[in-house]
């Protein structure tokens, strides 16, 4: 099984992309070997040769002067061209806002079978590759057979664990990309991004607050604890609807789906739509004054009490 991995850079190669490489490596091992090629669009500070440590045979780098902007359309063009060159059986991408939007275009253009939100390594049975996907917003799974010779997977955080790269190095080739007018249809007018914060979709630890915090003026309780832990901050939907916190922090059915090792839910009732976004967390801690709050049904550890007392005490105990 020859595998092509699409990498993203946010300065350096993203952590989630390295996890996609680990996923590809483990897949190749499990399915009896094959070459791994990686492709990346745009500049990066990472020494791409070092990706040999993930078992990558070759890195294709689309970064010539014609390539001005990494977006849905240009990335799709890069991936299509990398597929044409490396002729893989399987393409692996780590789920992200860019990948979610561009992978379906590539699947439609190449006739590939696409599975998104993949949570485990693929299985090969009588020549048919199948994967486990998360569906019903984390409430269920489906095993899906991919009925094409080219398959594309977008994988969730945690789909492949326990991999350590070695110190091998690999060759890096410039991938010359030709972009049509249609590929350049999107003009970026700038981004607004929280700086210096840990990004929620990739975070390993998350401290999240709900309406029980009473108002934005009390958010220091959440951010202080997050700072101590090195965690990302999150919130429930009403909190972002009320503009106490930015929209991109809201977790759940209509918001971000997180899969951290630890999710601390403070003053969050645990409505089914909120739980939909946190159900793949490894460990959930609930702090709520109401012993009947549904959040305790999904939590691993719970404290019945006042967030205004518990959060500072917890912060102190962790310091």
């Amino acid at each position: 099984m020859n595998i092509l991995v699409f990498l993203e850079s946010d300065g350096s190669v993203k952590k989630s992309s390295l996890e996609a490489l680990a996923y590809a490596h483990k897949t190749a091992q499990a399915l009896g070997g094959g070459a791994i090629t990686a492709v990346i669009a745009g500049p990066t500070t990472t020494d791409l040769g070092s990706l040999g440590g993930y078992g990558v045979q070759k890195v294709l780098h689309a970064d010539d002067s014609a390539f001005v902007q990494v977006d849905i359309m240009t990335s799709a063009a890069v991936l299509k061209q990398a597929i044409a060159i490396s002729n893989p059986d399987l393409v692996v991408l780590a789920k992200s806002s860019l990948v979610d939007a561009m992978a379906p275009r590539v699947a439609a253009a190449t006739g590939a079978a696409l599975a998104t939100n993949v949570v485990d390594l693929p299985v090969l049975n009588n020549g048919v590759l199948s994967v486990k996907r998360s569906i019903y917003t984390g409430k269920a799974f489906s095993d899906v057979a991919l009925n094409a010779t080219l398959r594309i997977l977008t994988v969730k955080k945690g789909a492949a664990t326990g991999f350590e790269p070695n110190s091998a190095s690999t060759t890096v080739e410039l991938l010359p990309v030709s972009l049509s007018a249609a590929d350049k249809a999107l003009t970026s007018k700038g981004t607004e991004k929280a700086t210096g914060e840990i990004l929620l979709p990739e975070a390993d630890l998350v401290v999240s607050g709900g309406r029980g915090l009473k108002g934005p003026e009390n958010w220091g309780l959440i951010t202080d604890l997050a700072k101590t832990l090195g965690a990302a901050t999150a919130c429930s939907k009403p909190v972002s609807d009320l503009d106490w916190r930015p929209h991109h922090e809201h977790v759940g059915q209509t918001g971000i789906k997180v899969s951290p090792s630890l999710y601390i839910a403070a003053g969050i009732s645990g409505a089914i739509q909120h739980v939909a976004g946190i159900s793949s967390s490894k460990c959930i801690v609930a702090i709520n004054s109401d012993p009947e709050a549904p959040i305790f049904k999904v939590a691993d550890y719970g404290i019945v009490g006042d967030v205004f007392k518990i959060l500072p005490a917890l912060n102190q105990a962790l310091k």
Binding site: A101, N117, L262
Partner: protein
Amino acid sequence: MKILVCITHVPDTTTKISFTPDGKEFNAAGVTFIIGPYDDFALARAIELKEAQGGTVTALNVGLVETEPTLRKALAIGADDAIRINVNPTDAWQVAQEIAAVCKAEQYDLILMGRESIDHNGGQVHGMVGELLGIPSVAPVMRLDVVGGLATVSKEIEGGKEVIEVNLPLVAGCQEPIAEWKIPNMRGIMGARTKPLKVVEPNVTATSTTVQQFSLPPAKGACKMIAADNVAELVDLLRNEAKVL
């Protein structure tokens, strides 16, 4: 402006999901079906754009006859007409090809969808339709303004948003806060009964994936309760039992 809104017919967000004992099919007994929440945002924005700038809003679903009440609801909310493509949707590739065929004939300026359906959560159909039509697609879109033939969209990115300009025609996969959900009023509900709902037969389109088996996550163990005055115990459990710190 000629706008198409693609809507899914999906279980209410409070549904307790279950499958037939053999794990082959979704158990729809007693389940209430709704317009997908993201599709509902897309529909609301489409109607706002139409009200501000004129034009038409068509709601489309790929599904069997049981989805018609959901399409009628879209008409009650304010769509002018509806199309149902009469086939059981089994994968995104099939749905995208069916939608693209209608779009090729109708030439919409704007094709709005949800960022993802809340049953299979593929997030695939908008990108596939964009590619099949050779027009740009953007998702997830949190703001959408159109002036003349130019759309300005605000797209969610990790930790923030990006503003993008793009010429129509465009496919957008929408999410909040693009618009407030609209609740149909009595006049809308009455009017919806007589608005046109056209049923078209599918093209013969291929699927590329098949679901072999559905399953539920393993049941969660009981929550371990810790006394409010004993946060030190919680820290100890997180470090030494759960091993997450």
